[in-house]
C-alpha cells in the first residue's frame, strides 16, 4: 500500500475498502498514545509502574478490536475517522494517567474501562443498526426519549447537583450525565423530522424579511421540543449544553432548508439571549468577567488565570510531557484538559489536537455529502457540527477566545458519559459513511414495508368511462 499514489482501477473492479490503510493508521495512533504514556516516566526519571505492559496490552487490544469491528461490519466506512478518534482517546488516557500520578486510584484506569465500554457499545450499535435509516420512522418516540433523558437529573432520588449544575444522575454509586446521550437522541429526532418536512419547511409559508417563514403546523412541533429542551437546560443551569443545542438546531434547519437567513436569525437571537443572560444571570456575568478581565478577581477567576499561565509557560513547543505543572489548574482532568496539553506539548502540540478534531468534523461532513438520503445527510451534518461547536466552545473558553462554558473536550476529558456518547457518534458517522461509499451491489436494500398503515389519500378515478365499463361487466 502506498499513500498518495493514484491507483488506476478498471471500472469493473471492486471499490477499495481502505481497511488496510485504516489498520496502519490505527496502529500509528495507538503507538502515539503509548509513547505519550511512556515518555512521562522517562522525562521524570521514574520507574515504570509494574502494570505498564497490562495497560499497553489493554489499549492495543481495544484499538484492534474497534478496527476489527469496523472491518467486519462496515467494510466501506471512512478509513480516517477511527484512527483520529483513537489518537485523541489514547492521548487523553495517557494525560489523565500523568495528571493523577501518585493518586491511590488513578482515574485513568476508570477511563480505560470506560473506553472498553465505549468500544463494546460501538460494536453493539453497529450490529443492531446495520441500516441506520430504520430510526427515521420513530420521530416522536425519539423526541420523547430525548426529553426524558434531559429531565432525568430533575428527578428527586437519582438526580444529583454538583458544581452548581443539576445535570447528573446517580445510579448504583455511578454518576452519569444524560444530556450527553440526549444530544444524540435529539439530533436523530431532528434529522428524522426535518427530512420528512424539508420540502414543506422550505416552500410552504409566506415570505417576510427575505425568509420563507414556515407555517406553524410545519415548524411548530420541532420548535416546541427545542424550546422545551432549552428551558430545561437553562433551568439546570447547564449553559454550555444549551448553547450546543441551540447551534445544532439552527444549523440542521439551515442544512434542511438551504436558507442562509436561518443562521443569521439564530445568531441575532442568540446574541439577544446572551445579552439578557449577562444582565440577569449571575453565573453568566461571572463567566464574562473572567473572560474579559480575569485578573480583577484572582480568587473568583483562579481557574481561568492558572490555565492562562499554563499555556504561556508551555509556549511554542511546550515543557515536555511530565515537565509542566498543569495540576495547578482546577478541573484540569475535565474542562481544562486542553490547558494541560498546551502546557506540556505547547502550541505545536495543541494544534495537532485541534487539527484532529478538524479532520473528524471534515470527514463527518464528507459522509453527509456522500449520503443518499436526507435523514443520513442531516444526521451526519448535525453530529459533525455539534462536535465542532463543542470543541470550539471549550477550547475557545480555555484559551480565553470566548467566555468559558462547561463542556467536555470530546474523547480527551475524564468522564464516562461523554466518552460513551462520543463513541456512539463515531459509530453513527461510520455507518453513514459506509452506506454512502459502498458500491451499490453491497448496500443494504430496504426491506419491503407493509403498506397497510401508510398515510395515503384515496384518489378519485378520472377514467369514469373505464370505471363504468368495469362495473357494467361486473353487473353483466
Amino acid at each position: 500500500m502506498s499513500f498518495g499514489v493514484l491507483r488506476k482501477t478498471p471500472i469493473n473492479q471492486r471499490s477499495p475498502t481502505r481497511r488496510n490503510t485504516e489498520l496502519v493508521l490505527v496502529l500509528f495512533a495507538a503507538a502515539l498514545g503509548i509513547a505519550c504514556y511512556l515518555v512521562f516516566y522517562f522525562n521524570r526519571g521514574l520507574e515504570l509502574p509494574s502494570v505498564w505492559p497490562v495497560a499497553v496490552g489493554c489499549w492495543v487490544a481495544l484499538c484492534l478490536a474497534s478496527h476489527l469491528l469496523v472491518r467486519k461490519m462496515l467494510p466501506y466506512a471512512d478509513p480516517v475517522l477511527l484512527p483520529c478518534v483513537l489518537l485523541l482517546n489514547g492521548l487523553g488516557l495517557a494525560t489523565l494517567n500523568r495528571l493523577n500520578y501518585g493518586a491511590a486510584i488513578n482515574p485513568a484506569v476508570l477511563q480505560l474501562i470506560y473506553t472498553a465500554v465505549g468500544v463494546v457499545v460501538f460494536g453493539v450499535l453497529l450490529r443492531l443498526l446495520r441500516d441506520y435509516r430504520v430510526l427515521q420512522r420513530y420521530t416522536y418516540l425519539l423526541f420523547v426519549i430525548g426529553l426524558g433523558l434531559l429531565l432525568m437529573p430533575l428527578l428527586p432520588v437519582i438526580g444529583k447537583e454538583s458544581g452548581g449544575s443539576r445535570i447528573w444522575i446517580e445510579v448504583f454509586g455511578r454518576s452519569f450525565q444524560p444530556a450527553e446521550l440526549a444530544k444524540i437522541v435529539l439530533t436523530l429526532a431532528f434529522a428524522s423530522y426535518l427530512s420528512d418536512h424539508r420540502e414543506l419547511l422550505r416552500s410552504a409559508g409566506r415570505r417576510f424579511l427575505g425568509i420563507t417563514w414556515p407555517r406553524v403546523r410545519d415548524l411548530g412541533p420541532i420548535a416546541m421540543i427545542w424550546v422545551v429542551s432549552l428551558v430545561v437546560l437553562v433551568f439546570q443551569s447547564d449553559l454550555g449544553t444549551s448553547l450546543l443545542f441551540f447551534g445544532l438546531f439552527v444549523v440542521m434547519l439551515y442544512v434542511a432548508t438551504d436558507q442562509v437567513a436561518w443562521p443569521i436569525v439564530g445568531f441575532v437571537g442568540f446574541s439577544g439571549a446572551a445579552f439578557l443572560a449577562y444582565l440577569f444571570v449571575g453565573k453568566v456575568r461571572i463567566r464574562v468577567e473572567s473572560w474579559l478581565i480575569p485578573f480583577s478577581d484572582v480568587d473568583q477567576n483562579y481557574q481561568v488565570i492558572e490555565g492562562q499561565f499554563g499555556l504561556a509557560w508551555g509556549g511554542l513547543t511546550g515543557r515536555g510531557i511530565g515537565m509542566g505543572r498543569p495540576t495547578r489548574v482546577p478541573l484540569v482532568d475535565s474542562d481544562f484538559i486542553s490547558a494541560a496539553f498546551g502546557e506540556e506539548l505547547g502550541m505545536v502540540g495543541l494544534f495537532v489536537i485541534i487539527m484532529v478534531y478538524l479532520l473528524i468534523v471534515m470527514r463527518g461532513l464528507r459522509a453527509a455529502l456522500g449520503a443518499r438520503d436526507w435523514f443520513g445527510k442531516l444526521l451526519a451534518a448535525g453530529l459533525s457540527f455539534a462536535l465542532a461547536l463543542q470543541v470550539f466552545a471549550i477550547i475557545g473558553g480555555v484559551t480565553r477566545l470566548l467566555p468559558l462554558t462547561g463542556l467536555t473536550t470530546p474523547f480527551l476529558s475524564q468522564g464516562g458519559s461523554s466518552l460513551l456518547a462520543n463513541w456512539l457518534i463515531l459509530a453513527i458517522l461510520l455507518l453513514i459513511s459506509h452506506q454512502g461509499r459502498a458500491p451499490i451491489e453491497e448496500r443494504d436494500a430496504e426491506v419491503v414495508v407493509d403498506l397497510a398503515d401508510e398515510n395515503t389519500v384515496l384518489l378519485p378515478a378520472v377514467r369514469q368511462s373505464v370505471a363504468s365499463e368495469v362495473s357494467d361487466e361486473e353487473v353483466g
Binding site: 498518495g4 493514484l6 481502505r18 435509516r133 420540502e199 459502498a438 403498506l451 384515496l458 384518489l459
Partner: protein
C-alpha cells in the same frame, strides 16, 4: 540525563504527531482520487447500444394490485393510472401520471411528476431526481416496483 535528550524526545514526539496528520492528509488525498462516484447504477444503458438492445431489463410490480406486471426498460417510462401511461397501474392510491423513469449515461433515474401521494424510493419520499437500480424498491401508491436486470 542531559537537557539535549529531553529536547530531542520532545521534538520527536511533536514531529510524530504532525507526521500522523500528514499521513491522514495523504490518505484523504488518495481517497479523493480513488473514489469513483458510487451512485452510478449497474444497469446497462439501452440507448447507447443502438438498435435493439440485447439485454433490456424490466420494471416489475412486485407488490400491490397487478403484482407481476412488467414493462421493458426502454426510453422514458411514465408510471401512473392513466391509460396512456407506460406502466398502467391498477392502484387507487396512484395518480394518473405519477412518476417518470428515464435513463441517462449512467443509469436509470426516477422523478415524481406531481403525484398526490408521492413516490418513495426505499421508503424515503423523493423530492428530486433520484437514481435507482435493481437494489432499490420504488413505491407508487400502494404498489411496489423494482428494476430487474
Amino acid at each position: 540525563m542531559s537537557t539535549l535528550v529531553f529536547a530531542i524526545v520532545k521534538v520527536a514526539f511533536l514531529g510524530l504527531l504532525w507526521l500522523f496528520i500528514a499521513v491522514i492528509a495523504g490518505v484523504i488525498r488518495s481517497d479523493i482520487s480513488n473514489t469513483r462516484p458510487t451512485d452510478v447504477a449497474v444497469q446497462p444503458n439501452p440507448k447507447r447500444r443502438g438498435g435493439v438492445p440485447r439485454d433490456v431489463g424490466r420494471l416489475v410490480v412486485i407488490a400491490g394490485k397487478g403484482s407481476g406486471d412488467a414493462v421493458p426498460l426502454l426510453g422514458e417510462i411514465i408510471i401512473g393510472r392513466a391509460a396512456d401511461a407506460t406502466l398502467d397501474l391498477a392502484d387507487d392510491f396512484a395518480s394518473n401520471r405519477h412518476a417518470r423513469l428515464f435513463s441517462d449515461a449512467q443509469g436509470w433515474v426516477i422523478e415524481d411528476i406531481g403525484s398526490t401521494n408521492g413516490t418513495y424510493v426505499n421508503g424515503v419520499r423523493i423530492t428530486e431526481l433520484t437514481r435507482v437500480d435493481s437494489r432499490d424498491i420504488i413505491r407508487v401508491g400502494r404498489s411496489q416496483l423494482k428494476l430487474e436486470a
